[in-house]
């Protein structure tokens, strides 16, 4: 135990007072000693891609929200407003990294190549996992707040054991930082110098509770006390998020252990489609954050940088409309499992008890079909 470790953690931390920015609200590129070295490859193509990715993430979210209102999905936790935090961080990853997310990381999932049907399936109530985690390098949604942070830390411990230079990333919310699991994840990640990025989207709310209920001090500052460097970034600035995640990943790959990234953002929509945020927050607050919209900001930047804003917007529009059409086809094509499937995969092989119950259920189903 040495003060050197916290000194090192503090030294490698940044943005605790004012979140790091690469693009200010007006879209102007601000120099950043911390971030700039990790943004050298950003060119117009990349900026356009980032914009299109965010636009698609937003459109998928809007469409899914609408589908829920139409009864096609049972529930939907919108990611509206968090596109920069999700796209920026996910774009920093490589295919062999592994993502452990909560339930709101639709943008991240899309970046990992998750199909639209795969993305919506959980929310249609037909399955608890929409995709193959190994195929996408991403675990399926975790609903127990904080639980996935330990999985990410453990996965990263595994990476160290087999000597790879992959990294794991855990996505979690501001509320999650209060859970024992999220704190134990910091203990283990730090103790084992696990190559993991602890990526906190501080979207200001845990359902109705403002982040001030969870903590009176910045969430990122917490990490330093665990010996983990913290980067606090403007979460609506896709470049800042991209750069911070790259810094964290680089540290992880080089054996430098975990990094905590706090992306300061805002959940513009309700917690889920069943929530009514007017009960706990003002329109003004929402309006103020809408002014910091991540897509608008990048678009302004693209304009300022000389790109044809309307061309980018149009390209995005075309892609989004395409995605929206695909999505509406995809949702109805999601298979409804046979009832009998509820007995599958409890274990890796059959057990007498469950096969008995399966048989009983079959006989019963057959009986009521003929009978009543």
């Amino acid at each position: 135990m040495s003060t050197a470790v916290s000194a090192r953690a503090a030294e490698h931390s940044a943005g605790l007072d004012d979140p790091l920015v690469a693009l200010d609200d007006s879209g102007t590129r601000c120099p950043s000693a911390v971030l700039d070295g990790h943004l050298a490859d950003v060119d117009e193509t990349m900026l356009t891609d980032l914009y299109v990715d965010m636009a698609i993430a937003r459109r998928v979210d809007e469409e899914a929200f609408a589908l829920t209102r139409q009864g096609e999905l049972v529930l939907w936790p919108p990611s509206l407003g968090q596109e920069a935090a999700q796209v920026g961080s996910a774009r920093a990853l490589r295919g062999t990294d592994f993502v452990f997310s909560s339930y709101r990381e639709h943008g991240v999932a899309l970046m990992r190549g998750v199909g639209l049907d795969e993305l919506l399936a959980v929310w249609r109530g037909t399955t608890q996992s929409g995709w193959d985690p190994y195929e996408r390098g991403m675990a399926t949604p975790q609903i127990i707040i904080g639980a996935q942070t330990l999985h990410a830390a453990g996965y990263a411990m595994g990476i160290r054991m087999d000597g790879g230079d992959d990294a794991a990333i855990a996505y979690f919310g501001d509320g999650a930082t209060s859970e024992g699991d999220a704190n134990e994840a910091m203990v283990f990640a730090s103790a084992f110098r696990a190559p993991v990025v602890l990526f906190c989207q501080n979207n200001q709310y845990a359902i109705s509770e403002p982040v001030s209920v969870q903590s009176r001090s910045p969430l990122a500052a917490r990490a330093i006390g665990f010996g983990i460097p913290a980067l606090r970034v403007d979460g609506n600035d896709v470049l800042a998020v991209l750069a911070a995640t790259r810094i964290a990943l680089q540290r992880a790959r080089r054996g430098g252990g975990p990094t905590f990234v706090e992306a300061v953002t805002y959940r513009v929509g309700p917690h889920t489609t069943t929530d009514d945020p007017t009960r706990y927050r003002d329109d003004e607050e929402v309006a103020a954050w809408r002014g910091k919209d991540p897509l608008d900001r990048l678009l302004r930047h693209l304009g300022g940088a000389g790109a044809r804003e309307d061309r980018v917007r149009e390209e995005a529009q075309v892609r989004c409309d395409q995605v929206a059409r695909e999505l509406r086809t995809a949702v109805t094509a999601i298979p409804v499992p046979a009832t009998d499937a509820m007995f599958d995969h409890v274990f890796t092989g059959p057990t007498r008890r469950l096969e008995r119950q399966r048989a009983e259920h079959r006989a019963f189903s057959a009986s009521i079909e003929g009978d009543r």
Partner: protein
Amino acid sequence: MTEQLTLAKAIGRALGDALAADDRVVLMGEDIGRLGGVFRVTDGLQERFGTARVIDSPLAESAIVGTAVGMAYRGYRPVVEIQFDGFVYPAFDQIVAQVARLHYRTRGVVRMPLTIRIPYGGRIGSVEHHAESPESYFAHTPGLRVVTASTPQEAYSTMRAAVTSDDPVVFFEPKARYWDKGDVDTGRIAGLDDAAVLARGRDVTVACYGPAVRTVLDAALAAADEGIEIEVIDLRSISPLDIDAVVESVSRTGRLVVVHEAPAEASVASELIASVVERAFDALRAAPERVTAYDTPYPPSALEADYLPSLDRVLDAVDRSLGRWSSRTGLAIAGGAR
């Protein structure tokens, strides 16, 4: 005073009345204050009683229960909410190793008059962890009272009793019945020990609780059409169970069916059957039957109707118990061995 209330509102009323009746009562949980809870059960209580007595807590279930233990040491009577059934497990240690045992550990000196409210059960068409019935874990834990309610009146009366009890009470609120309406007499405060016979019948005893009660009552009506009389027992207290009431009933009917939404294995239904067999073996004329969830994790909601006990599955078990035709036994002796 009698009033028509939903079950959710009846609980809210009970909590409000409890807060008004006793300064030592405090409420704590995630989103219970400003929002009034995700089911609006605590709606209006923070406005009425202030943020010091209706507390929005940080998001940490172990701490919600653990700090409530500390408040109880200080003389408070905390009522804490776990937002959904599936989120109680992080608090498991504090509940089973602390709340349940402190009175015993201290040989009666420390009291833990905590109420742990848990909206529970399925059939709300939601996603994973939002539809579970974890009551058997708590029933297996000595030192906890585990209760539920099946009507707005019961919910009111039992919640008042839970908050007043000096024992820790885990109160499972049947969330699928939150919107059921019924008359509530706020003068009635229940006991926490006794089952209630909701319908008399000569042929089969069906014991159930919480969300399953309505299913069973419906089944009893359907059975009556076929001339079968079901005696419906609402257990109300899941632990301790009112075995006497069930034994008394079975001594008349000779047949027992137990219905709940939790999986079967090592469950409350297992317990009830083991206890009744122990005490009324000679009275039993047929093997007791369980109608429960299957022994799988809770499936996606698209399948929950088949996973949970249904009216038809209850009737099937009743038939089996009566030796009538049933899908499982394949018997087709109409009228059965009555």
